[in-house]
Assembly symmetry: D2
Homo-oligomer: 474 residues x 4
């Protein structure tokens, strides 16, 4: 895909391993498969049943864990791992790299979190008033405080007790020397699956592609509202929270999950093809070819092209060696950032009417550049098709999105957007079309960023925003 | 694409800039666009007309040059840059990173080379007998020695004089403080194009995609046997070598060049599509879908699918975060290396008859793993189609290939290969089909690795192989 | 000096700057002067009156802060800095690098600590029972929890309230955006001085050598039990704690403090000379020369030699390039670690009777090697003199010492020690002699590690030791 | 010592090991002992009798070789190592890191060099005219070219043949897979000793302190003009060059060699004491104490103090943690560079008349700062004594010295220098006094930098200086 800040950003990926002599190595490989869910930092906490062993740092999984001497001290047959999303600014607080570790009941507790709380500010204020100290700015620390303050006796009961107080999206993996606990919030915003390694080890992972890499088989999803506990005696599961209608994140299908993941019972790649097919029906175009924005728009473009019988062509070539920052000459190069990553095929495009398909449109700046690149490469018509509805609101449930003001669709008519990006026509998918494409069944998915129907109120929005605790370069 | 040692390896990429105040920054961006031609090392030598300024190191372009303080000291309005291929073993001699710099006529001479000499051993022996010293093992050092020993007066005449003695493939960029010289050998094995930057600067590059990134326009190819000299007064060109039938490398079309490059008058992406279409005619298959080995097999697979009216599907998903080395658990994971990079889509493949299209087949080990992965994902039939003829011989003209013994097609019948990789059927493109697809015109291309028709004798083959000068870890 | 694990280890060094536009640069230079107090990690937290800016990492001060882009983001005219001691094992918990930062009263609070609490285990248990979470194993976190839980209103009152609960050694620097607070425990184990920069900025530092480097003048010591508060309006000081007899650490004079520091009214270098002179009177030796163990034994050896009229000779040469770890051939080199650092002068030593003077004797292993080295270099007699009394007990007040069992003097007669290290004679300083040498006045110093008179009971000793929270490699 | 650019700089250190299974580890330890002779870069080339294995990089020995995976590939029982001096500017040409390796007689030749040729420019010009190419700017490359061009048959004869053409200072270690050759030029400017490891391995080293560390015993010096050859059959030595009066570098005694080295039959530390004693006789001072400039002035100051019966005091404390570059606040700190390294002891110095003893005076800028520091610390008189004669000329034989114009003694009367540095009196040692102190015997030493009696004419001085080949940041 094409442009960092002009996409929704992943929040996090989780992996847990219980019962394998090289648990931290499996966790490391699992994190690698989940690297697309977070490129800012990575951490693994392992245990041999007595103590926790941790290593956490900023960087890609391979940068953080790619040396045997880093993995070896992470001893034991159980481990949890975490990858963290990449912030826009490029600098971030090293104290936020997860799993968070805290002393608990005389030993340690590690917590890895994917999601976002909507009552974090008020909970933090309340906890601070009671004398809790916060050393970082992640919501995870709130969960740990609540667990620590619970009057319940067992870890599991304390976790449940704590989670009755938090609102929002929280998929969690917790590890003590003797237990691993996996939880999804009752609405199930973020995914988590349970798998089994051939040798018998239990595996938890945000996506099935992590199971595939380590040759574990998929057992089942951790269900919304479910708590799964693994310990010496085996695995137990229960549902301590009041049942609520599920609100799984539809954007996982549209852009986040890896195409080779099977998410909530559906193959992501096929879902994206169906999005493209439906888009073709709703928003057809007369054109000579369909060109995806690589890599994220490819599956939808294939479906779009197939539905209309148009040729599918890789009219934009992606350069996979592009890193995070680049030195540009002082006489600036037009559309530099996009051009580094995408180069057009003029021979193919010259004189042609082109449909370009992308997975979503956030700020619109990248699409605008892509339209310009296609035109300068000779396309006589450029029809922009978005395999998603207009993004009109931010996500409060674990995705790093621009503010509402920055979302081009929140303040413009669709036709106006089309003019601004310079397309001859523009077409979005309908919300209904999206739901029918991804799943076909009843809409059990959160579509708040498209529909404005937020399933949980964001309580902190009313409050004065808190200052960041501090700014740290790692 | 999928497997390091199981592909032909790029040898090098070149870029030259003359007449731009930020020449080294443009060279750096150009090298970035040519990164696919060499990932082992990168170097830039710049000049302000008085002195040379050099920086060369092992690593990717961004690792070597990604900080302003590295580029800034490379002063002046002229620069040559070089990327070097990645060796299998991962360790290599830092003394080989180019451009090579030597004292010449009281100042410096930088030489960047793409290609391979077939009389290197005898020339080196001859030069050593005359007292020349070699500090590294690249052929480039031979060229510099010959230039230094020429009795001619001017740099250009010395270069021409030197090049009459070398045989094989040599595309060169040379820089002194006052001149830049670009040369292609008379058979023109390796590509080099001339471009012009909007501000008037002359640009040389191995591929047109480097021109695109820095917004330079393509002017023309440097022709086989041509010497182009740029200096204060402007650009002059001449052809001092006896004319020979061109032998441009057909493999550049098949695998090496970036798909968005226009090579020798043809768009690479479209050429690859034609290869796939022709392959469909020569080696059709009854199947439910066509799956490319990403990324290098995508264009050919598109052509193949289109010609037969079969669905094109991304049945293998590539993980782009994969680095060079990985830690594996001691209980090994089956097909670990390939699996890290490619994950199948079982939902898509289950119960299906699949044609998998790759760009070439070298040792066969990667293809064998891919066939296995597809089968385990549920494909009921796997038909392997290679958008190239059987690779029966090594390349002596600048590509790092396995020995003849390691080339599976050099010692096996095609059917036997198919059985070994586990495919239900296997099909290669014919040599004639390949030539007609890439260009359509008379076969002006070297196809020695397929046909065994080597246009220049490899003189060193008869000789006892030389020991490496030394082994150095950088 | 000679041998890592065979010395008492420094615990920490502190610096604070208030009122200088380049506060973090001054803090960095101050930490550099205090590098001998801790080589494991370094941190600076700065503030511009609104927010805190932090950078903390493992490594030497120059490694952590030696680049302008690291210091520049630490904005503002106030800063606190910290260096941390080096652990024996070489690996340690990155979460322990100070200053610790926590959210406090809507903004941030940074705490830097030198010392050790003797009721840490019970306080931590008590706080944990109340639901406090601990993310690292330093005592500092306990102080922050107590501050956060205090029912007092102002920061200063909360700090005082918190400190009434802790026992042991605590010299602290605290920073919020609007206040800096410096405190020493009522017994004053660890030093802290107040200085003034020519431009008017207030400086706090563990030792006066930090003032010297940044050209600040010494104003006065922060007194035992004193709280000094700096804010917009200026500096105020008060003594909220019950007065107790001072127990300043005599070991600071013997080994820890830099010789150019003026500590508690006395010059350290001169104090060490007096220790050597007194040692000469108490434990004279008939010999041809006095040789110090460089660098820490030099001043005492000078005093010893002068008192007896013996030649002072550098018979052991120290190699200052020695790093932390070394590769040794498999056929081991005798006394490898010491030999890397110290080489004898055989020409000087051959046939001579040598007095070797060291600052202290902990495990005895290094001294034993040194005696062997001197003998093999030709010394006919080796008389070991220690410019301190026998070390019979561990320190509980902020110094990293071996256990009592590892202290050779805790379980052996002096003569026995002499035989074990291979010396012809051995002599220690008396406790009385030590006190009279360092200060001359009444013994206002803690000498527990020599006398066993511990001024504060170590409450945690009775308790079961806590497991480390976790082990982390940074 | 105190100030980088205000000292003569070491040129290089050499070590050779023949016949030990861990030759490269011994070479690494030997280089460590010689680290004071060069801090810019380090290299080792080893051989197993068949091939050469090399690793060379910029940095300290421990930085370059401190990991087992770097040493392990340097296989075989023979190795040569090299450390290189630190340049003032901090940037330098990576191509200059030694040992230089070149192809020779079908395998490799490694050359490590300590010294400087005085006919390098003319030799290089001559060789270039014959077509030789130079890839770096070190004199070593000239030697290799001459060896390669010699018409002699054997390596040893070629080396001898080559060395008859070069003039100046050249102590060399050469290694091929089957031979090691050690040579000193006929005047013997730079030292080289032969030692023997307990297991029988032959060791060469620039100084005996390298033998000590690896527990090798000193056998004898390699004599001026001697060629020592080690091969399978054993060690042979011969003297092929016309005998000349020795001109060993007296500065090695004064400042370069480590004090624990035994150089040309004399202990360096004792020689420096005698220099101080003689200085006391020639240039006595009425004072209260003698203070050395640490560390290099310590031995001479001891001798000076002892001769006059004055107290020896460490009035300046050196900070050993100082790295190469430092960040200074924009309001500059007076004498920043020196102050980082040296802090005075005001308590000791206040009101006192101080003799400060340094080993040499080059530009005078550091001494001037030191005098100022002592005065501001309270010294009422500062008498500067230099344990060397006035340095009036540069060295052409392997030491990096300032130009003649920068040498304060080359253009000023001694009294004038004393006034400029701010001393109450100044005193140098006489040349005769120096010679008698270091050796007592006939003056077999080069003292050109003091006396102007250059034993070999610097032929290149008349010539136009050559441009650097190129500038490279490593």
């Amino acid at each position: 895909m094409a442009g960092g800040a002009d996409r929704f950003q992943h929040e996090c990926g989780l992996v847990g391993v219980w019962g394998h002599p090289e648990a931290s190595t499996l966790a490391y490989l699992g994190l690698h498969a989940l690297q697309h869910r977070g490129q800012e930092g990575a951490g693994i906490v392992a245990s041999d049943g007595r103590q926790l062993y941790a290593h956490r740092a900023r960087g890609l999984v391979q940068e953080v864990f790619g040396r045997r001497e880093t993995l070896l001290p992470l001893k034991g047959d159980r481990a949890v791992g975490h990858v963290r999303y990449s912030t826009a600014g490029g600098t971030a607080d090293v104290a936020n790299v997860q799993p968070l570790v805290a002393r608990f009941a005389g030993s340690g507790l590690a917590v890895a979190h994917n999601g976002n709380l909507v009552n974090a500010v008020s909970l933090r204020a309340e906890l601070e008033a009671e004398g809790a100290i916060f050393q970082a700015s992640s919501d995870t620390e709130i969960v740990v405080h609540l667990v620590a303050r619970s009057k319940q006796r067992t870890l599991v009961n304390r976790v449940v007790d704590a989670l009755t107080r938090v609102k929002g999206a929280w998929t969690l993996l917790l590890l003590t020397p003797t237990q691993m606990v996996a939880v999804r919030d009752p609405m199930g915003f973020r995914p988590l699956v349970l798998g089994r390694h051939p040798g018998g080890a239990w595996i938890f992972a945000s996506e099935t592609c992590a199971l595939d890499l380590i040759e574990a088989s998929y057992v089942r999803d951790v269900e919304p509202g479910e708590v799964v506990v693994v310990e010496q005696g085996g695995l137990t599961a229960f549902r301590p929270f009041p049942k609520q209608p599920p609100q799984q994140c539809v954007f996982e299908y549209l852009y986040f999950a890896r195409p080779d993941t099977r998410l909530w019972g559906r193959d992501v790649y096929l879902a994206r093809q169906r999005l493209g097919e439906r888009l073709a029906k709703e928003q057809p175009a007369e054109a000579d070819m369909v060109v995806p924005v690589p890599d994220s728009g490819v599956a939808a473009a294939l479906g779009y092209a197939r539905a209309l019988g148009l040729p599918f062509e890789l009219g934009l070539v992606r350069n996979h060696y592009v890193g995070r920052s680049f030195i540009e000459p002082s006489q600036q190069i037009r559309d530099f950032g996009v051009k580094l990553k995408l180069n057009p095929q003029p021979e193919l495009l010259r004189g042609k009417r082109v449909v370009v398909v992308d997975d979503s449109l956030v700020r619109g700046t990248t699409c605008r550049k892509i339209v310009g690149i296609l035109r300068r490469a000779g396309a006589v018509e450029v029809h922009l098709r978005i395999a998603a509805p207009p993004t009109t609101g931010p996500c409060y449930y674990g995705i790093d999105t621009p503010t509402r003001e920055e979302l081009i669709a929140s303040r413009n008519e669709i036709a106006e957007i089309g003019r601004w990006v310079g397309a001859d026509s523009i077409g979005y998918l309908s919300i209904e079309g999206m739901h029918q494409s991804v799943h076909g069944a009843e809409p059990a998915f959160c579509d708040a960023c498209f529909s404005g129907r937020y399933p949980v109120l964001h309580e902190d929005l009313e409050r004065r925003p808190q200052l960041p605790l501090f700014t740290e370069r790692a």
